[in-house]
Symmetry: C2
Subunit: 353 residues, 2 copies
Amino acid sequence: MDDLNEIETPAFVVDEAVALRNIAAYQSHCDEVGLKLRPHIKTHKLVHFAKAQMDAGAAGITCQKIGEAEVMADAGLDDILITFNVIGSAKLDRLYGLARKVRELAVTADNADVIGGLAETFRDAGSPLRVLVECDTGAHRCGVTTPEAAADLTRMIDAAPGLVFGGLMTYPAPGGRKDVANFMTATCAILSRAGIDCPEISSGGTPDMWQADKSGGVTEYRAGTYIYNDRSLIKRGVCTLDDCAGRVVATVVSRPAGDRAVIDAGSKVLTSDLLGLSGYGLIVGHPTIAIEALSEEHGTLTSDGEMPLAVGDRIEIVPNHVCVVSNMFDAIWLRTADGSLRQMRVDARGCVT
Amino acid sequence: MDDLNEIETPAFVVDEAVALRNIAAYQSHCDEVGLKLRPHIKTHKLVHFAKAQMDAGAAGITCQKIGEAEVMADAGLDDILITFNVIGSAKLDRLYGLARKVRELAVTADNADVIGGLAETFRDAGSPLRVLVECDTGAHRCGVTTPEAAADLTRMIDAAPGLVFGGLMTYPAPGGRKDVANFMTATCAILSRAGIDCPEISSGGTPDMWQADKSGGVTEYRAGTYIYNDRSLIKRGVCTLDDCAGRVVATVVSRPAGDRAVIDAGSKVLTSDLLGLSGYGLIVGHPTIAIEALSEEHGTLTSDGEMPLAVGDRIEIVPNHVCVVSNMFDAIWLRTADGSLRQMRVDARGCVT
């Protein structure tokens, strides 16, 4: 199949050439500035693109949940960092099993309870688990808030027989590069005085990816959204519309009033994520039409002046936040280089545990 | 299994006794006021509860997408209304196939293009398709905006050999009962002069469900959210906390600062739906803790004063909007009357086409 009009809507369509170009471009940047790239698979959740990222030169992949990592490991991805505090016996058991399957596995931790659970689980494991200490450099989500606390957790990891200190990790606030450098430099200084080497400093985030460099000793960068890009990243100047590889195709199902149209994609497709934007996505080729409201299965469009769309028309939407939107589909349509369309299951969709 | 602490988080847990009580209570109300109840399965997407709603006395079920209806029909639900404009040959083919499977099938339409497609598809079908005309009585989503336009579409359906006029349908704005009555009364008057009977007037919406009655000739009511209820309905005074059958169980994974905790449920579980509320859900037993921010797999909680939660603690969250949250899980946990926990696949999850 090669005609976009033949697929049922709503659909998520990925232009493979654009996605591969995005992968290559950012891999080149990381190669140039001497950073390891460890792409986050949360955006695409596809084995296909995880392998493409590795083939392009990535050092490994990043997952947020164990479930995502299990899917990737089963498909042969063998160097995985899980940037999440793993808690509870069921998840620790799964993590132990996962470590048996892959060549390299690492997790992050930002508190003693988590490290205690990891240490207990991996105490008698043949090979130790790598644990990075998560640092809050300004995003105020997870992470220890001081270099001293980071050093304390590092010592705890260092002292646990089943664990090995894997380095420092942060998910910075946008524009927080200097804060990352300050935090990491201060922490490494404390560690150095304690005779502990820091093997890796991992930072991340697509918004600041073109500014990523080795300041503050950063050695590794994690980015996810860059493979598809989205409206929020256009707004931030990180990409252009042409770089947006992942788009929702929807059909106009109703034209109830002069300035109003309704499409077959609602919050169960586009999600309610706004990311500070107005409206629920960018309609390609129709800059004056807004996706003003969503109900679960309907999107309400309004236009400045007469609505140019008719019932049956199809539109392409660049989502505000592509990572949550691709997760709403059991399968995507991949537009391959030869122009054909191929359906592909979203391997790690909905892996929330 | 009967211990909530043994299930992995994040999880969606449904108290079956509460859900069945909600089903019974609203069925009783509809029986008392003489309305047919046609529950919308978009909230639970489960064959289990669709059958429970039928067993309690529902006239049939409502689905929003053909995919949902296909799942329900395959499981034996045999009286289905799809409240959506069906467009395009692929969907019309599926609709035709669906009509062969069930005893009663009806759809809605609000424009001539949709009716034209239905008429063409069902022209030579053995039994005609019931089509209700969707009317905009104030919600400003789909629906014809005047009684005259409703009457015009009715005549078009009436004239099509493969179609039969099924009545009028509206999804009203909250508090819009009088607008519904005015619109329907005016439309029926026009139809009556044309010699056309209106066999059904279908209205819906959980927010106003306790005020649903036969004013304006309403004969049928569609409600979905009432089976689980949610924070938005508590806020509107439609239900109490005890009526909220569907809850997200999450685990505290980080306590990075005095007033901050982070849970393992983010926007890929709780969604960004606010419905006019502040924060992303109600934490049961902790009225002073807010779910202030969500990233994809983390929820950030803040408290007035010192945060009482510790790493490893589990919390129960009543979602802002339960319909979109249950759709995020491949499976729910059903807490049955004997106290045991049983995992159940969400049959129609993600059926967006």
